[in-house]
Amino acid sequence: MSDNIKFLQGNEACVEGALYAGLEFFAGYPITPSTEIAELLAYRLPQRGGRFIQMEDEIASMCAIIGASLTGRKVMTATSGPGFSLMQEALGYAIMAEIPCVIVNVQRGGPSTGIPTHVSQGDVNQARWGTHGDHAVVTLTASNHQDVFAMTVEAFNIAETYRTPVILLFDEVVGHMREQLVVPQEGELALVERLRTAVKAGVDYHPYLPREDGRLPMSDFGGIHRYNVTGLFHDMWGFPSDKPQVVHDLIRHLVDKINNNVNQITKYKSYYLDDAEFILISYGASARSALHLVEYLRPRGERIGLLELQTLWPFPDYLVREKCGHAKYVIVVEMNMGQILQEVRRVMDQPQKVFLANRIDGVFITPMDIRNIMRVVQGKGV
């Protein structure tokens, strides 16, 4: 068997993807069901000269990776719901100060301590709006280990391209399930390296003056340019400002740089959508059951398809409208009270044809659960 074929947990696939992407610094705090990511990186990172630190809590973990990123490193932390809640203030700081970093949330059931060893997808809206204030955010997810790997690499690429934190929203089933991963060869997946300023020493460098294409070349802490980084609204020097024009321009920049690139950021998979009357929209572990049902019903004559979202935020409005507009019924399959359902209803011209198949009891949603909802929607009874 080839060395690059592995049988492992989703959390391990995430670690493999992060190392492939060039992760150099990880700070974290133990929490179920994400702990394996920290354990493995404590082992693997120093083997390649990288650094791992277990901080005193998740707040400190998030802060430490921001500090490390400013020195020019690719950085990541991993946690679950309660830890993700604690990270929200510093996550907002990374958005405001435009610091590339990757945050993995292997979701468990919430609120509060919730159900730590069971599955949920209840943090979708928290990923979007967990930190205060108007902002844009990027959130990716995946349903199998090959995609966990690819989306982890993508997360680093997006973080560097747009100078933004990227959230990887996995779940307990994908995190702990074991299946095959084929680790891509070096060079097989594109890697985005940090854009650094070409401004020479002694010439004024404006860390927060976007180029024409909206990107901001960085300069590593410890390098030739000294500048200020703050979570306050700031001018092109990075110095605090409360001038209305500065405040307005910065918030527009922070939101536009993500929202104007929704097409580049949107990742998805589609199965049998062209002639589908019935379309399932799903993501993460739930998409596995949705796909299973689609593959089961297709040979039996049901015109059913699946749109698997891999980018949850910014929400791909146009994609959903384009792919699902023609469907007779749309069922959103997720393990929460309908967090993506709301989005799909918002973007569809006929929200009344959008239904929910969900589970909120910590048990993995099955193809039969979805099938039962389908029959109700079809008026066939369960």
Binding site: I53, A68, T71
Partner: protein, 268 residues
């Protein structure tokens, strides 16, 4: 290099009130750095939120003005990532020891090479004079209108107990000593804590009828005594100042370098 070279004049005037002690701290710190002959590119200053934290904006180093209480956690990330850089973390008393108390003791425990400065004015100044964990029992504050019943703790004792390998205290009156202590603290390899008693005439002084800034500084002269002095034995109410701890113990980033060596041996 002249002191002025370390300042970002573009960002002046500063926001501190007339009589505030924080400018004196800035002055002493820059004098210490100047005496050490350090280059501006090798210094990273990380601060949190509050009056004290604005110090980072005014100095021409790599500066990171972060969120309330977490400066040491950010600084830990910078330092572990680039151990060759010198980390200086000025904090207020609330910033360092209320909201940031956990990070403070854990940074000390790790003995990571960071110089932590606690600019202790015994009050939350920026929000308008609320009591801090160092205000002390019986003081007045806008959130203690009937007097404060919270007991304070001793920053020096706390830092020592948490494992800091350099611990000192001084005041804005004792500027020569402050510069000397800062030099030692920055040179020290490990976690250094310097508590500076810094007057806030606007809030702490006014609420507690301590007079002008000059009166408050004079009180530092009269209420403090060198570490281990005879005066302290005669009058236990005096606050000791000077260097309390200065010891060599393995520094965190050096220890992690050894981890890297061990990990690399394991794969070869």
């Amino acid at each position: 290099m002249a002191i002025k070279e370390y300042i970002r004049e573009r960002f002046f005037p500063h926001i501190w009130c007339p009589g505030c002690g924080h400018g004196i701290v800035l002055n002493s710190l820059l004098r210490a750095i100047e005496k050490l002959g350090m280059s501006k590119n090798e210094i990273v200053m990380v601060s949190g939120i509050g009056c004290s934290s604005r110090i980072s904006g005014y100095v021409d180093f790599h500066t990171l003005h972060t969120i309330h209480g977490r400066a040491l956690a950010f600084a830990t990330g910078v330092k572990l990532s680039r151990p060759e850089l010198n980390l200086i973390v000025p904090m207020g008393d609330g910033d360092a020891l209320a909201i940031g108390g956990n990070h403070f003791i854990h940074a000390a425990r790790r003995n990571i090479d960071i110089t932590a400065i606690v600019m202790n004015n015994r009050i939350y100044g920026m929000t308008g004079g609320q009591y801090s964990p160092l205000s002390g029992y019986g003081t007045m504050a806008t959130t203690a209108p009937y007097t404060n019943i919270d007991h304070s703790f001793d920053t020096v004792q706390l830092a020592m107990a948490a494992g800091a390998t350099f611990v000192a205290r001084t005041t804005t009156y004792h500027v020569q000593q402050m510069t000397k202590i800062f030099r030692e603290a920055v040179l020290h390899e490990g976690f250094s804590v310097v508590e500076v008693l810094s007057q806030c005439p606007t809030y702490f002084g006014r609420k507690n009828r301590l007079g002008t800034a000059v009166d408050m500084m004079e009180q530092y002269k009269n209420n403090t005594t060198p570490v281990g002095s005879k005066a302290k034995k005669e009058n236990p109410d005096l606050i000791e100042r000077g260097i309390f701890v200065q010891k060599e113990l393995p520094e965190y980033c050096h220890e992690y370098d050894k981890i890297i060596e061990r990990a690399m041996q394991k794969i070869t």
